[in-house]
C-alpha cells in the first residue's frame, strides 16, 4: 500500500467513525442508558482533553515547570466561578501563566 493510499484509507476510516452513529441513530433507537450517557460525553471529553493536554505539556518537567500551568488552571477556575463566564478562564488564566512562567524559576 503506497503512502497516498495509506493516508486515504486512514481518512476514510476516520470519516466512517464520524458518520457511524449519525447514520445508526436514524435506523435504531438508542438504548435509554446510551442516550443518557451521550449527554455526558461533552463534560467527560472536555475534562479528558484539558487534563490530558496539561499533563502532556508538563510531563517530565520539574516543579518549576508544572507550577505555572497548574496555578493558571486554579486562577481560571476561580475566575469562572466568580464571573460565571466561561471565557474568564482564558482572560485570567493566560496572563497568570505568563507572569508565573516569568517569575517561577524553571
Amino acid at each position: 500500500m503506497s503512502v497516498w493510499l495509506t493516508i486515504l484509507v486512514a481518512g476514510l476510516g476516520s470519516y466512517l467513525f464520524r458518520i457511524s452513529m449519525v447514520v445508526l441513530a436514524d435506523r435504531m433507537t438508542m438504548p435509554e442508558k446510551l442516550e443518557r450517557a451521550s449527554t455526558y460525553v461533552a463534560p467527560a471529553a472536555f475534562a479528558a482533553l484539558a487534563a490530558g493536554g496539561i499533563a502532556a505539556n508538563t510531563a517530565g518537567l520539574d516543579v518549576g515547570g508544572w507550577i505555572p500551568p497548574l496555578a493558571a488552571v486554579v486562577v481560571a477556575v476561580i475566575a469562572v466561578r466568580r464571573t460565571g463566564r466561561p471565557y474568564a478562564a482564558l482572560l485570567a488564566g493566560m496572563p497568570a501563566l505568563w507572569v508565573l512562567t516569568a517569575v517561577v524559576p524553571a
Partner: protein
C-alpha cells in the same frame, strides 16, 4: 402540496454562522500553531510533502495526523499506520453518538458534510450550542460557522507549516490556550452531580493514562467518565 418530512436547513443565516465562527476563535489560537508544527513535520518527513498535507483534509484530526506522518516517515507497515490512526480517532464515534440526536431530521447531504467536519473543537463548540435552548436550525448554522472556520484555518496552517517551516512563539505558551478554554467550559457543569463525577473521573484517568500507548488516554478517560456519570441515579443532583 406534499408534506415536508425533512426539516429544512436554511443557508442564509449570517448572524449564526458568524457567531459560530467567533466561538471557534479561542480554539484557532491553539490549533493553528499545532497545524504549523504538523505541516513542518510533513515537510521534513521522508514522504511527499503533499501527502503529509493531505492528512489534513482526509484524516482531519491533529494527533492522528502526527502519528500517521511519523509512522510513515519511520517506514511502518501501512496496516499498522491505519490501525494506529483509527485507534487515536476512536473518540470520534463517541462524538458522533453525542451529536447524532441533534442532527435528526436534517437532509442526508447535510449530515454527510457536517459529520466530515466533526473533530474535537467543532464538537465542543457545536454541542455547547445545541445544548442551549433556541431554534435547531440556528444551531446547525452556528455549528457550520465554527466547523468551516476551523477546517479552513487548519488546512491553511498545515500548508503554511509545510511551505514556510514557520517557528512557534514558544514564549506565549499557546499550547495551554485549549486546556484553559476547556476549564472555562467545564466549571459551570460541575453543578450537576453526574457531570461532576464524569469530569473528575475523566481528569484522573487522563492524567494517569497520559503516557498510554497509541494516544489511548483520552478515549479511556472519556469512557471512564461516562461510566462514573451513569453510577449516579437519574434525578440526583
Amino acid at each position: 402540496m406534499t408534506a415536508v418530512t425533512v426539516a429544512p436547513v436554511r443557508s442564509v443565516r449570517g448572524g449564526d454562522f458568524a457567531a459560530g465562527a467567533r466561538a471557534m476563535v479561542p480554539w484557532l489560537a491553539g490549533v493553528a500553531p499545532f497545524g504549523l508544527v504538523i505541516g513542518v513535520s510533513a515537510a521534513q518527513a521522508d514522504i511527499p510533502t503533499l501527502a503529509g498535507w493531505l492528512t489534513g483534509p482526509t484524516i482531519y484530526a491533529g494527533s492522528s495526523q502526527v502519528a500517521a506522518i511519523e509512522m510513515l516517515d519511520a517506514g511502518s507497515a501501512p496496516v499498522v499506520v491505519v490501525i494506529t490512526a483509527l485507534v487515536i480517532n476512536l473518540r470520534l464515534i463517541l462524538y458522533s453518538g453525542a451529536i447524532a440526536t441533534h442532527w435528526r431530521g436534517t437532509p442526508r447531504w447535510w449530515r454527510a458534510m457536517a459529520a466530515y467536519l466533526l473533530v474535537d473543537p467543532s464538537f465542543v463548540v457545536g454541542i455547547d450550542r445545541y445544548q442551549r435552548p433556541g431554534d435547531r436550525n440556528d444551531a446547525h448554522t452556528f455549528y457550520l460557522g465554527g466547523a468551516i472556520t476551523l477546517w479552513i484555518t487548519w488546512l491553511l496552517a498545515l500548508g503554511a507549516g509545510a511551505t514556510l517551516g514557520a517557528q512557534l512563539p514558544a514564549a506565549l505558551h499557546l499550547e495551554l490556550v485549549i486546556p484553559l478554554y476547556l476549564v472555562g467550559e467545564i466549571v459551570p457543569k460541575l453543578a450537576d452531580r453526574a457531570a461532576r463525577r464524569a469530569i473528575l473521573t475523566a481528569v484522573v484517568v487522563a492524567v494517569v493514562a497520559v503516557s498510554a500507548p497509541l494516544h489511548l488516554g483520552v478515549v479511556l478517560a472519556i469512557i471512564a467518565g461516562l461510566g462514573a456519570a451513569l453510577t449516579v441515579k437519574e434525578g440526583q443532583r
